[in-house]
Amino acid sequence: MDDITFTTDLDANVRVMQDIFRGDNTFVTRYAESPKGLRCAVFFFDGMVNGIAINQSVIRPIVCSDLCRSDADVLAQTVLQVNDSRVEPDINKMFASFLYGDTVVFTEGDARPVVVNTKGFAMRSSSEPENERVLSGPREGFTECFMPNLALIRRRMNDKRLKFTFLRVGKRTNTVVCLCYLAGVCEGSLVSRLRRRLEALEIDSVLDSNYIYERIRDHRYSVFPTMGTTERPDVVASRLLEGRCAIVVDGSPVVLTAPFLMQECFQSNDDYYVNFLQANLSRVLRLAGFVFTITFPAVYIALLMYHRELLPARLLFAISAAQRGVPLPAGWETFLFLLVLEALKEAGARTPGAMGQTMSIVGGLVLGQAAVSARFAAAPTVIVVAIAGVTGLMVPKLQTATLWLRFFLLAMGAAFGLYGVGLGSGLVLARLCHMRSCTVPYLLNLVPRVAAEQEDAWLRAPWFFMRYNRFPLKRHDKREDVR
């Protein structure tokens, strides 16, 4: 765009614009001329703009104007009747706005365009995110539209310290990305670190926040998430209050938050909207569910292959009887059935609507029963895999970790028995201890140092006990009591 220049000749400017967008049938050029001689050219993209706003606020004021000639400043300030219009001498910024639904107006005798905010493309309304449903509490979710998403955040935080900083990422898509933080609560170094990472991105396109997520997060190959993702504005607001940064990406309903701690994997939105006793029980269940889902198949195989003496006698007889006649060794059998489980989950997720549910149920029940009847698999193995599958759904934020660790520990258990499971778990824990998210230790707060840090770590303290209103990441900030 650097070699494009506009002149004071309106017709020449129109030709330049039409040359640039030749072949694009959504590109619209409209001349507007007043009886007194004011002559302008209006450019916009069909479908991206609010037609009523253009007619009433741009074209009608020009056509009805008493001026015979006007420069861009006068046009923007006195003729156009819109709340957001500006003279934009920077060609790149002008095109960025134009391509995003703004209207560009050239006037005879001025090379500078006027950019008018007339965005009016179709967007879906805010609804509760499918994968972050709550029993009670707010039901709003982000959409694919950028500014309404920011409005959803600001509406929850009437604080003048709330900052939205815009950047553009993606050479081709030129996507707007917003770095959002609460000044004074969020560490300045965190903001500058994230800004540096975003600015350093060498990327052609950003069509979703995951494009950025995988590039800017710490430990990019780790199975554990090191940046938070959410589609809920209340969650973003809560994380901003805790001193985190949020990254809102245009076109994506998923907002990233950083830093991200292990404890957040076990937190649910519901935890803060229901009684703390109920919330804590659920949180403990989620934690146990995660440990269970990654270790249960491994422990089962280890017990069956190396430590049968640890099984109660009658259970051993039942398992031995079930294993009799099954062609595959127990380790391979469990491994393959875990793969089948993942295949069923994938098929259920990809199949639309009720058909997906039916497929999961039919697949799970019929395949499991048929496999046991045909002696393809032992019934205890099917039960173990099913339990591991169900408990694996309890912590959706750790699904990737669950999937890989389950197989890793299964291999360790099959090769080295319970010692292998212990060794594998130790390696994972050591890795977690080593991990950091934006310089914050990943396991922060899980090891008690200060009582205040424990208020929302393993368990959630009742609201009336939370002295600092949950600002764990910046402890020296002046805080107000919530009482």
């Binding site: 069956l304 051993l316 039942a318 031995s320 009887a321 060794p329 380790g331 090769a415 292998g420």
Partner: protein, 209 residues
């Protein structure tokens, strides 16, 4: 890619296990060749079946040889970890039982909670086969130990007592008129050998007096 090689290798190694034949109880008798070991092996072919006992006997000179010979009879792995009872006949008990106790204590498959009982009168083999329920003898001895009818002397305690001064007491069992195992007092060991039985009749004269 290199990271995937390790788990793949581990998985490839994990196929080599044999099906198991768990032993629930054993009986040791004297015979012409030396000793005869009978094992009650639990059979359950399908999960719907109930566990039922099957009996295997081998003869030999000493306990290690007998256990090895017993294992060779089966295509599956002879599994002693769930054995709850070892019955020994009076003849076996009258010889020194310390080597037997030591062998069992040192065998990593055998639990130290194994209960050793002396069979009065009949052969241990007959008593083992008298009940069609698996673990019936183990439950009988557990219950008797709980109620104080018989001494609570699992293997490790018996071995400890024998090592200390060569004396020990072990539970004694006999067959009743219905052919069922029943508590029959205490077998007293002195100098690592069966010395006598005590059944309460010694106190205040004979029961039928």
């Amino acid at each position: 890619m290199k990271k995937l090689i390790f788990p793949t290798l581990l998985l490839l190694l994990c196929g080599c296990t044999r099906e198991v034949s768990p032993v629930s109880a054993m009986a040791l008798d004297k015979d012409d060749t030396g000793c005869r070991l009978t094992a009650e092996v639990v059979r359950q072919d399908t999960p719907e079946d109930s566990a039922s006992p099957a009996y295997l006997s081998v003869s030999g000179e000493d306990m290690p040889g007998l256990v090895e010979a017993l294992g060779n009879l089966l295509p599956d792995e002879l599994y002693l970890s769930h054995a709850q009872v070892l019955l020994i006949s009076e003849e076996v008990a009258q010889a020194t039982i310390l080597p037997l106790a030591d062998y069992l204590c040192q065998n990593q498959d055998v639990r130290l909670s194994l209960r050793v009982a002396v069979v009065r009168g009949d052969s241990a083999d007959e008593m083992l086969k008298s009940d069609e329920e698996v673990f019936a003898l183990g439950e009988l001895l557990d219950h008797a130990a709980d109620t104080g009818t018989l001494p609570d002397m699992p293997l490790y305690r018996a071995a400890e007592a024998l090592h200390a001064d060569g004396t020990a007491i072990l539970p004694a069992l006999s067959m009743d008129e219905f052919g069922q195992a029943t508590p029959a007092g205490t077998a007293v060991f002195a100098n690592e050998r069966l010395s006598c039985f005590l059944d309460g009749s010694e106190i205040g004269g004979k029961k039928d007096a």
